[in-house]
């Protein structure tokens, strides 16, 4: 394999640091013997390395190391012994496992509540021509066109049938459902889903760090 001078120059530092694998090291040894430029650069690197060692650590003696380590032993805080192969007893995992199961149940309940809230709100869009629908028609004037109302009412009846609720609920009740109760339920359950999800994620991370 032919290696160019430039490629070898880029490997000079790794060569000087003894980091090249044998085949490349041989190539480099061969090249440095023939190339005055690379020999000069290599010598420069080695010279720099030797020059750096003029700067020594003052007072770095074996006695000093001994003194430092005995002072260290006095300063070490108490740490309980750890064992690699401690089998966890049931009490150590029963509590976190219970928490996880409980969290999962609450999470499922929150998801179901949120879905229910969203479904009721969707049905509410097709509720009788009440304040809610008028408000919607104000935003989208095309809803006032002939035929649209019948379509919406048809969809409303279908939605209410599926959900098993009466489409003939009074308009004020629909308003209350749409403007306050359902949004609150959806918001609270969404919050619960997010919090419980984060709790679960951190729990898994903690468990992974402990194991």
């Amino acid at each position: 394999m032919q290696v160019t001078h430039d490629e070898l120059v880029s490997l000079l530092a790794a060569f000087a640091d003894g980091e090249l694998e044998p085949r490349r090291r041989m190539l480099m040894e061969e090249h440095v013997r023939q190339c005055a430029e690379c020999a000069r650069r290599l010598e420069e690197l080695r010279r720099l390395s030797r020059a750096l060692h003029i700067w020594e650590v003052p007072g770095a003696t074996a006695e000093r190391a001994r003194a430092l380590s005995s002072a260290l032993v006095q300063m070490l805080p108490h740490r309980p012994a750890v064992s690699h192969f401690r089998r966890p007893s049931w009490i150590t995992w029963a509590f976190p496992a219970g928490l996880v199961v409980w969290g999962a149940l609450v999470e499922a309940a929150a998801v179901l509540t949120m879905a229910f809230g969203l479904a009721v709100m969707a049905a509410g869009l097709f509720a009788p021509a009440n304040a809610w629908l008028s408000w919607l028609a104000g935003i989208f004037p095309s809803l006032n066109a002939p035929g649209w109302l019948e379509t919406i009412q048809g969809l409303r009846d279908l939605g209410c049938q599926v959900l098993g609720i009466s489409s003939t609920l009074p308009a004020s009740l629909w308003d209350w459902l749409m403007s306050f109760l359902m949004p609150t339920i959806v918001f609270v359950s969404l919050l619960a889903v997010v919090c419980l999800g984060m709790w679960g994620w951190f729990g898994v991370q903690m468990a992974r760090r402990q194991l």
């Binding site: 020594e56 650590v57 003052p58 770095a60 260290l72 740490r79 012994a81 750890v82």
Partner: protein, 204 residues
């Protein structure tokens, strides 16, 4: 500086196991083995030997606390090196970078134009010290681990938690700066009467 290569890795494994079990004396013996490594890194990062000993002590205490988490994925030296470099870099970061840490942390100066043939050894030491301390901290730590502590590229990468390519580029940059700043010294003949190489080269 002598490298921390121990002929009895088994002895180290026993010391580690005893330290993990809470034996302070065993950890003290480990610390004694790695004292020159920890103090050396901290000293070359800060330029102050008393501060270096304090930082090394702090790092050893952290290591003692974290020892139960040491899984043996890397060598103890790499693991300890990580704690020592983080402790030192944290310390340097806390200092105001605008102001030198103390009189021992020297700013980068232009290479001296004085007649260097008459440089005394102490002056040469100061020149090297000043040049190393003026390097950017991230380059300096890589250079110290390589040149003074003899770590391999892979060990440096593991210690600093950076890719091998970054290790090589930081070393390259550090050496480039040092070549410029130490040019007057490097041009001196090593063995002649005015030269600098007396005993330092045997230290590696």
């Amino acid at each position: 500086m002598a490298q921390d290569t121990h002929p009895d890795p088994n002895g180290e494994a026993i010391l580690l196991a005893r330290s993990r079990a809470g034996d302070k004396e065993a950890f003290g013996m480990l610390a004694q083995r790695y004292c020159s490594f920890a103090v050396g890194v901290a000293y070359r990062m800060t330029g102050n030997s008393q501060l270096a000993e304090d930082l090394a002590q702090e790092a050893f205490i952290k290591a003692w606390r974290k020892l139960p988490q040491f899984r043996g994925d890397c060598s103890f030296r790499v693991w300890l090196g990580r704690i020592v470099t983080n402790t030192t870099l944290d310390y340097l970061r806390r200092q105001n970078p605008e102001q030198p840490l103390d009189e021992t942390l020297l700013p980068a100066g232009p290479a001296e134009e004085a007649p260097l043939r008459h440089l005394e050894r102490e002056e040469m030491r100061q020149l090297v010290r000043q040049a190393v301390l003026s390097l950017p901290a991230q380059c300096r730590v890589a250079l110290i681990l390589r040149e003074y502590e003899g770590l391999s590229y892979r060990e440096i990468a593991e210690t600093l938690d950076i890719p091998m390519g970054t290790v090589m580029s930081r070393l390259h940059y550090a050496r480039q700066l040092l070549r410029e700043r130490l040019a007057p010294l490097l041009e001196l003949p090593e063995h002649s009467a005015g030269g600098w190489r007396e005993d330092a080269s045997d230290a590696r």
